[in-house]
């Protein structure tokens, strides 16, 4: 530190946070002793910091509730991994069926009201509808803190068997780990055009992306298109009659390289 370096606003903040080395702290103190306005402000910030810490301290002193008990969470995960879809479905599928029924009802009602709205203008093209369905399901499931996926990555084989059977088409999962996205698992979702398979991925910071897959009415291919609705972006394409829409809380542009990678893999897998 140079002696005589001017005192900055950042020095005041760092002073409050006890983040200055001793020499700089002394320089700041010296400055404050001759600048009462700054001294008052720094004192107020310090009092504020103490008040915040005191007000929030009791939360960290509460006993940790059972559902946040780490040993239990680890055990629950091991149990889930060991459990096979076929040997012990448990309550999961039933809950999922109930959710799917609810979504069909909502989707049906939404579809009906959309019908009136879209009838007047040019109707949405198939890729836009697929994107819309992907975004709707993304909003419901990616935001779910408790159970975003019905079957976890460890059950990938069973998951693919299940959704392939329901979609009556061979479904594959692209591996996006090279791009930093880990496969979380997936679920069957309801769309206005029948069942779809939705796969979820997240990065090391917990950001989630999802890909919806369902058969299209046409058998052909469709090039990639970017879509954006509020914060959610989507990149959609079709390959041999299967529609794919990759969506996330991000710009469609940012998703495009991931979609390229997914399409490349899917072409070789299917």
């Amino acid at each position: 530190m140079n002696a005589g370096r001017p005192i900055t606003e950042e020095d005041f903040q760092a002073y409050v946070d006890h983040a200055l080395d001793e020499r700089r702290r002394e320089e700041v103190e010296e400055y404050l002793s001759t600048h009462p306005d700054a001294a008052r402000r720094v004192a107020a910030y310090t009092a504020q910091r103490e008040a915040l810490r005191a007000a929030l301290a009791p939360i960290a002193e509460e006993p940790v509730p059972d559902h946040l008990n780490l040993a239990r969470l680890v055990e629950a995960r091991q149990h889930r991994q060991a459990r096979s879809w076929l040997s012990g479905p448990g309550a999961g599928p039933w809950r999922n069926i109930a959710a799917a029924v609810a979504l069909v009802l909502i989707g049906g009602a939404g579809g009906w009201s959309m019908h009136g709205i879209t009838a007047g203008k040019a109707s949405m093209n198939p890729e836009s509808m697929l994107t819309q369905e992907a975004m709707d399901n993304y909003r419901v499931y990616a935001a779910d803190a408790v159970r975003p996926v019905e079957m976890h990555a460890g059950e990938q084989e069973q998951l693919l068997r299940w959704v392939s059977q329901r979609l009556d088409r061979k479904v594959a999962v692209p591996d996006l780990s090279a791009s930093g996205y880990r496969f979380m698992g997936g679920r069957l979702v309801a769309t206005a055009h029948g069942p779809g398979a939705m796969f979820f991925y997240d990065d090391s910071s917990g950001n989630r992306i999802a890909m919806l897959v369902r058969p299209m009415k046409h058998d052909g291919d469709a090039p990639m298109t970017e879509h954006q609705k509020d914060d959610v972006g989507g990149v959609t394409w079709c390959n041999r009659g299967m529609g794919y829409s990759l969506v996330a809380d991000a710009s469609a542009q940012a998703l495009h390289p991931l979609a390229d990678e997914a399409r490349r893999q899917l072409r070789t897998k299917i």
């Binding site: 910030y45 915040l52 002193e61 935001a143």
Partner: protein, 188 residues
């Protein structure tokens, strides 16, 4: 596995504190922490060896909380009448005077924009260094510093402004436009 338990377990209380200060609703906050812990367990071996567990966990939790808040905003206002200040948040006050003070500071905290609030909490309450806070929030250190300065100044104005405002209104209900959806708060 033991290694993970030893590193993560002591962080659970601070993670709960951060989550609750950000989203307020107790159950939602704990759900976010649970989600964060489950991800940490699943991806423990994937974490960067050069980063420390605390910064990593706060990053996961912060992103979950922000995405939760964004979802709520998109759905429109989810604020309810009792959303002003959560009295239960100020647990076990030593004295009545303390309780009032704590309520004021928490009330003022909730008026800060989310990006300023998170910086202030991570640095002032959770004792993250500026560099760690920058990693959690994925912003440059300079931005951490400027947000911190703005947060403190704004909080100061709120705290100093509040009593005068209440006195002027004669202790009746007052309107706090800063809360967004027209929230009325009962004043003691």
């Amino acid at each position: 596995m033991n290694d993970m338990m030893l590193l993560i377990e002591p962080l659970i209380p601070p993670l709960r504190r951060y989550a609750r200060a950000l989203v307020k609703d107790h159950a939602t906050a704990d759900d976010l922490v649970q989600d964060c812990l489950e991800r940490a367990i699943t991806r423990w071996h994937q974490r960067r060896q050069d980063g420390d567990a605390r910064t990593w966990l706060f990053t996961i939790l912060h992103n979950l909380a922000v995405s939760h808040m964004r979802q709520n905003r998109r759905r429109g206002s989810h604020l309810t009448l009792d959303d002003g200040v959560d009295e239960a948040m100020i647990a076990r006050p030593a004295t009545q005077e303390d309780a009032l003070h704590h309520a004021d500071v928490m009330q003022a905290l909730q008026t800060l924009p989310e990006d300023q609030r998170s910086v202030l909490l991570l640095v002032s309450v959770e004792d993250l260094t500026y560099a760690e806070a920058a990693r959690v929030l994925d912003i440059p250190i300079g931005t951490v510093m400027s947000r911190l300065a703005r947060a403190r100044e704004k909080l100061l104005q709120k705290m100093e402004g509040a009593p005068a405002q209440e006195a002027a209104k004669g202790g009746a209900t007052i309107h706090r436009p800063a809360f967004g959806a027209g929230i009325f708060r009962r004043v003691k």
